[in-house]
Symmetry: none
Subunit: 244 residues, 2 copies
DNA sequence: GTCAATAAGTTGTATGATGAATTTACTCTA
DNA sequence: TAGAGTAAATTCATCATACAACTTATTGAC
């Protein structure tokens, strides 16, 4: 077995297939691939997610069923659409529109407040440990000058897992990474990646983790609210800035 | 029945996976399985189509992406819908399993707490009016001896609308009516439809509406929590009862 | 430069094994 | 006999390996 690390999000509940599927789906819908572009090969994805080829193939089969990709034998898997075949209202966030991001973020706030509270009630020792491990990874990413993007999301997923209710992870994966300040929203982004800024985030994360660890429901909820309120206000600022 | 039968599309075009997928899909959409029915096991399907488990599993993965079936480890693969593209059934709740209902209800609690709070902040006068109208409809349904089912759900949707964030309605619709105690869960249901019980619900609803009307965020949140906590405990009781 | 043969890379399928969750059957007890 | 507890059988989830089929890049001869 290879180590339980790798690219993005793994450890947790739900099936591996659904995790990989959700992640790939978000990646595609988030326009991180352009139409016609080729996905990494199955072998590469196997590495990236640290799962077997079986899992990758089933996830891709689901993407195919959604009409997002098309596989060509001998050649590769290609993106043929980046729009959800959204029928009656799907939770698709338009990462280009700030207002859409704010809507999603409010929704996510709802989920995460309860998530933090439930996690404080129910976390297992193992889940507590995982939480701090994610915290540490975030720290390492800062020091290494790497993107904290995945580490941030992984931390929030770990909280969701600590509720022992797999639905919370599902919704979070569905909403994708819409909370996390993206450089994809052009915003002079220097500030967003500055070390002091990231360390503030890290401190907020620690606050949340500590409250969950102490089984302090109220504290966890409050710390999470503070954390997300920060993101929300930053987005609101963006919205004002762009319309002004 | 070995060999390439089982009905329709086989040899000829495309991959084996797409063949098997198309055939299974047609079978399900053609209502040859009823909702909740179990598909043949992977081993049986392997025999039936004379293909490997890999192919069967990928085909089933696609059916899952289409929201037609749901796989339960250790149990089997079950049909959960026989309608095509009736929405990207993601957060499909298995109404047959009480545990699944509880999971969904916890999720819904998260949404509705925030929803009530935001509604208290932002409701327009028109939305306030709508809220009381729904309340009234619920009342009328009780007196008429009709089902309060739709009225109940409509009330909650009205709150979601009062947040002025359309996502809240989307999620609520997605989760469906899973909060509302269903007679579909066999439960001697007489109690559930009794007038005193319904009037208690109605009183709780009024409490919520009043708090939103008064722009009392905390109050709205608390009233909603009380309301949903009731449903949750009723389900928990069911769970204990059925396992005993 | 052209073209055919070859090599390397990628998806499609098959097979066997192990783990985890659930259901069913059975045994033992009171 | 009834019931509880356990053992065994099912069934999906995942991993690992192997080979076939197809595409693309490379090579070598002319």
């Amino acid at each position: 077995m290879a180590g339980p690390e790798g690219g993005t999000t793994d450890t947790g509940k739900g099936t591996l297939v659904s995790s990989v599927f959700a992640d790939l789906r978000n990646t595609i819908l988030g326009s991180r691939y352009s139409i016609g572009e080729k996905l990494p090969s199955e072998a590469q994805l196997t590495e990236q997610y640290s799962v077997s080829r079986t899992v990758i193939r089933e996830a891709i089969a689901q993407l195919r069923a959604d009409g997002l990709v098309q596989a060509r034998q001998g050649s590769g898997v290609f993106v043929i659409s980046n729009q959800a075949a959204s029928g009656p209202g799907f939770l698709q966030v338009d990462a280009q529109r700030v207002s859409s991001m704010i809507e999603a973020l409010e929704l996510r706030t709802a989920i995460e407040l309860e998530s933090a509270s439930l996690a404080a009630q129910r976390r297992s020792p193992a889940q507590e440990e995982t939480l701090y491990e994610r915290l540490h990874e975030f720290s390492r990413a800062i020091q290494a000058g790497l993107s904290t993007f995945d580490a941030d999301f992984a931390f929030h997923l770990a909280i969701a897992d600590a509720t022992n209710n797999p639905r919370f992870r599902e919704v979070l994966e569905m909403l994708g990474r819409s909370v996390i300040p993206r450089t994809s929203l052009q915003t002079g982004n220097d500030e967003k990646t500055s070390v002091p800024y990231l360390e503030k985030i890290q401190a907020e994360h620690r606050e949340i983790a500590d409250a969950i660890s102490a089984r302090n429901e109220e504290g966890a909820r409050d710390a999470m609210r503070t954390h997300l309120r920060g993101s929300l206000s930053r987005y609101r600022e963006l919205l004002r800035g762009s319309s002004a």
